[in-house]
Amino acid sequence: MKQKKFNTVGTGVTFSPNLKANICQSARLALLFEASLVLIHVGEKSLKKSATFDAYLAPFLKQGLKASVVFNPGKPVESILESVKENEVDLLILGALKRENFLKYYIGSIARKITRKASCSVMLLINPSIESLPCKHVVVNGLEDQKTPLTISAAFFVAQALSSEKITIVEEVSNTEVGNVQDDKSLRKSTLLKEKISRREDSRIQKILEDIPQKHKENKLVATQPIFGKRGYSIGHYAQVVRADLLVMNAPKASGFMDRLFPHDIEHILTELPTDILIVQ
């Protein structure tokens, strides 16, 4: 299996109070991933803007970061996606906003559109910070999906880079699979079925894990956990419950209009970010 590594990290930058934190966080991640950094600014180039970016980047350049700034005026979503393609960015970092007076995060409409349309992996940060924060626990989905092995290997790569201590692979078992409980008999049946599904899922995940390079698995507690709930949503809930620092998920399938009306899978998570999220493409 091809081992995914990020070569170019991109991030959208605008002049907001979060600017410095955004740049610092992205630069730090780029260093950890041994990738180059591209700052994408939607707007005209000006000397003053360049100077600000350079000032924030300076400490990281000293540590050996290769960074460039791209100015691309136009509509935000299209401009950023265009620049992502042009610069061959394979990980786009976006900051989420904190809702006022609420301990909840949400992601702006622009970031959401980009997440849906981006051809590269996207990382959504709920709390970009100037100082580096430890990432102790990574939760990754283990859905039965073609993309899952790639996602899991990416999760291990990131966990290794961030020196996380624990990585949990969550298998989501949907309700339709375990049948309806109506009385003692169906309860027994569904309990047995659940155990069976858990074992099946577990062995599937173990197979995927065998293919992960040993050096990514070192010094890490690797756990699996089957959960019962709504696919794509409950994993966010789980990440919140276990206080994970990063949630790694498969990229969504192309979503249409109906999906936004009746949100499912990743749409739910985008409306209320439980933690930092990495969506692997």
Binding site: D183, L187, S198, T224, I227, G229, H268
Partner: protein, 737 residues
């Protein structure tokens, strides 16, 4: 195949008990069936037909185990309206249609329907039904048949009727009123007596027997006509042949009209809610702790309702009072329901002429009592202790139901509940934003095997079904942790249901813990009331009663600690047969030693539900043993035990101690172990000491004597007995080792 064979064997060995309990239930079902039908202004026999068809069909097709089906009190109000607007034949058509809708609900798995209504609104609706029944029948009970418009008018006319009752010119009416009042007195005082012999026959049947006896007394002994006015005797009880010959033809001509379908909807709604609530409550009483298949039951009830409608009977629902009587009399499977129906058929075939000797007021007194129980002031007090806003919901539903109708009433209840929730949360965003989100996460923790459930956003009657579905998925002998810490708002309905689940889990050997609510209490956005769930009795303040002071005094003498406040953790009582069909309400006035292995306490628990509910307060002694002993129950052998031995309960005989076996009634599952355990010394100990009921759950024993709170002297002797029993049992367990 062997398990199937075994099942058949179990079924047949339990059959005598079920026949017995079916018989006792039929004794209540007969007067209630007649009364409920007459209260609905349907022919009296239609209630019996509903009970018979329901008992036969639901017992065969249903998905619950110890429930009894028949005509329900909840439906009286709706049936009244249906019969007055559609005529009786039109009403039968509506009943048939509602049966079809019930089947549909069953197929759509709408067993969760009752969860969508706030519990205070349901209480309010039931109370309104109680007032409707009470208001109408009160006048007949006092010999004053009225015909007024609207249920409120009946209630307002009650004082007038009471006044009028003292001034009847016709002595026949006075006799009628007296029979009504006496019957009401029987209903009220019956549950207060604990005399075994009186309790052998249920109160409604006493009324029937006494009034038939009274009528025969006049006819045969005094050779006079019955002094009760003939207008106030039950009329129109057809013989069995007549019933078969005169099956009414349902009239479907009104099927296109609006009023027809509102009646059908109301019948379906009330029938399903009443049945679902009853099934839920009865499942808690089932000593074998089985889980009912509610959807299957709904289908069976629907089919039975259709059958009943075609044969001239009323709606068939699951009824709580009769079911609890069934459980208390040893009913263990569906054959009891079947038997209750068979006995009703026998009654009608053999005694249909005798039934006309029952005075109407006597029968209506049973209903007045039922109505009072549904709307009792106690209920209001309990709801008030949960919170003022619950009282508002309760009264809104109650009044709208009384003044408009049932459906509008329950809708009003739902709306006002939602408005209150919005006001409490200072906005509706939390509800609208999160209503459709799958807010419940469940997983089994890998190391411990415990189930963990976390709920996000809010949890109220609007989305409780999501949580409920997860709770249903957990085997009830497992440990569950329910975490509300990510939940902004939890309403009373949810808290109440969860407390029900906690009971069920505790009874089935599991453990159900709720965490994450502590924060809510301190948060100003979440009023205490909505998560304060069990409205316990009045909080005992500093002032102790005389008895409590005496207990305090004794405790010093015995070197025990005394705590008057109630004890929340009642797990140490799990596994005792005595409590398997009972609901423990409160445990207080504890005297215990420093290791908590020896404790005396007062306990309040209830048997049965609704009008068959009886509260018991008693004093018990609990001794925790060091070694394991077999599970057994030891009782004094009396008339009742001999009777029940005939019905299939077995008494374990101890060799060489025929006298002991005669005097004591020993039960348990493992005969051999018990026989080995009862050594000569232990037998001698029991023979030479005052009689106590002694029960073991394997690890500890429970000792008590009377079904009332013990006096100070009695506590002293109980303590003395317990101390000696403890050392005796210690010897036994040591010898075994």
């Amino acid at each position: 195949m062997s398990s199937k064979k075994n099942n058949i064997k179990v079924f047949f060995s339990a059959l005598p008990k079920n026949i017995f309990s079916g018989f006792v239930v039929s004794l209540i079902a007969l007067p209630l069936g007649l009364g409920l039908a007459m209260a609905s202004e349907a022919p009296p026999i239609s209630g019996i037909i509903a009970a018979v068809v329901g008992g036969l069909m639901v017992s065969i097709l249903g998905g619950s185990h110890v429930t009894i089906s028949g005509p329900g009190n909840g439906l009286v109000g709706v049936l009244l309206v249906a019969i007055s607007t559609l005529g009786i034949q039109g009403a039968y058509a509506a009943i048939i249609c509602s049966g079809a809708l019930l089947i549909l609900l069953g197929f759509l798995r709408m067993g969760k329907l009752a969860d969508f209504f706030p519990s205070s609104a349901i209480q309010g609706m039931l109370a309104a039904i109680g007032l409707i029944i009470l208001g109408k029948q009160f006048h007949i009970m006092l010999g004053n048949k009225l015909s007024l418009d609207g249920s409120v008018a009946y209630l307002l006319a009650i004082p007038e009727t009471i006044q009028g009752a003292f001034t009847y010119a016709d002595p026949g009416l006075t006799f009628a009123a007296v029979s009504g009042v006496l019957s009401l007195a029987i209903m009220v005082f019956y549950s207060k007596t604990r005399n075994q012999y009186l309790q052998l026959i249920p109160a409604p049947m006493w009324i029937v027997l006494l009034s038939i006896g009274f009528s025969y007394y006049y006819e045969l002994v005094l050779q006079q006509p019955n002094p009760i006015n003939a207008m106030y005797m039950i009329s129109g009880i057809p013989s069995a042949q007549q019933i078969v010959a005169e099956i009414p033809i349902p009239n479907f001509s009104a099927i296109g009209s609006f009023s027809f379908w509102t009646s059908v909807l109301a019948l379906t709604l009330i029938a399903s809610i009443e049945s679902l609530l009853s099934i839920k409550a009865v499942d808690k009483l089932d000593p074998q702790k089985r889980k009912s298949n509610v959807n299957r039951d709904l289908k069976a009830l629907g089919l039975a309702t259709i059958g009943s409608g075609f044969l001239g009977g009323l709606n068939v629902v699951t009824v709580i009072a009769r079911s609890s009587v069934n459980v208390n009399n040893g009913g263990s499977n569906r054959s009891a329901n079947f038997m209750h129906a068979l006995f009703l058929v026998i009654f009608i075939v053999l005694f249909s002429t005798q039934l006309t000797r029952i005075p109407l007021p006597a029968l209506m007194a049973i209903l007045v009592y039922t109505g009072y129980k549904l709307a009792s002031p106690n209920l209001v007090r309990t709801i008030f202790s949960v919170g003022k806003e619950q009282l508002l919901i309760f009264f809104t539903t109650l009044l709208v139901t009384l003044f408009v109708d049932l459906i509008t009433g329950i809708i009003a209840g739902v709306v006002i509940t939602f408005i209150i929730h919005v006001l409490i949360n200072k906005g509706a965003t939390v509800f609208f934003r999160n209503l459709l989100k799958p807010n419940v996460l469940m997983f089994q923790e890998k190391q411990s095997g415990n189930y963990y459930i976390s709920v996000k956003h809010f949890c109220s009657f609007l989305n409780f079904y999501k949580l409920k579905q997860k709770l249903e998925d957990v085997p009830q002998e497992k440990d569950v942790v329910l975490d509300f810490s990510m939940c902004q708002f939890v309403d009373h309905t949810v808290m109440e249901s969860i407390s029900g689940y906690q009971d069920v889990f505790a009874k089935r050997g599991g453990h159900f813990e709720v965490i994450g609510l502590d924060l809510h209490g301190t948060d100003s956005e979440h009023p205490f009331a909505l998560r304060k769930l069990i409205p316990g009795l009045k909080k005992r303040s500093g002032a102790l009663t005389k008895r409590q002071l005496a207990l305090q005094e004794i405790s010093k003498g015995f070197n025990l600690k005394y705590v008057p406040e109630k004890l929340e953790d009642l797990r140490f009582l799990d596994g005792f047969k005595h409590f398997s069909t009972k609901q423990i309400e409160q445990l207080y006035n504890r005297l215990f030693n420093s290791q908590d292995t020896f404790k005396l306490f007062d306990i309040k628990y209830s048997e049965g539900e609704f009008i068959a509910k009886e509260d018991v307060r008693t004093t018990m002694l609990h001794i925790k043993l060091e070694g394991a002993i077999p599970c057994f129950t030891l009782d004094q052998e009396g008339f009742f035990e001999k009777m029940s031995a005939l019905a299939g309960f077995k008494d374990i005989a101890i060799e060489k101690h025929a006298d002991f076996s005669n005097r004591f009634y020993l039960r348990g599952d493992d005969d051999l172990a018990i026989q080995n355990f009862f050594t000569d010394n232990l037998v001698l100990f029991f023979e030479s000491n005052p009689y106590y009921h002694v029960e073991s759950n394997g690890a500890s024993v429970l000792v008590y004597s009377k079904e009332r709170v013990a006096g100070v002297k009695e506590i002293k002797s109980l303590h003395d007995f317990g101390k000696r029993l403890q050392s005796e049992l210690l010897l036994c367990t040591q010898n075994k080792l």
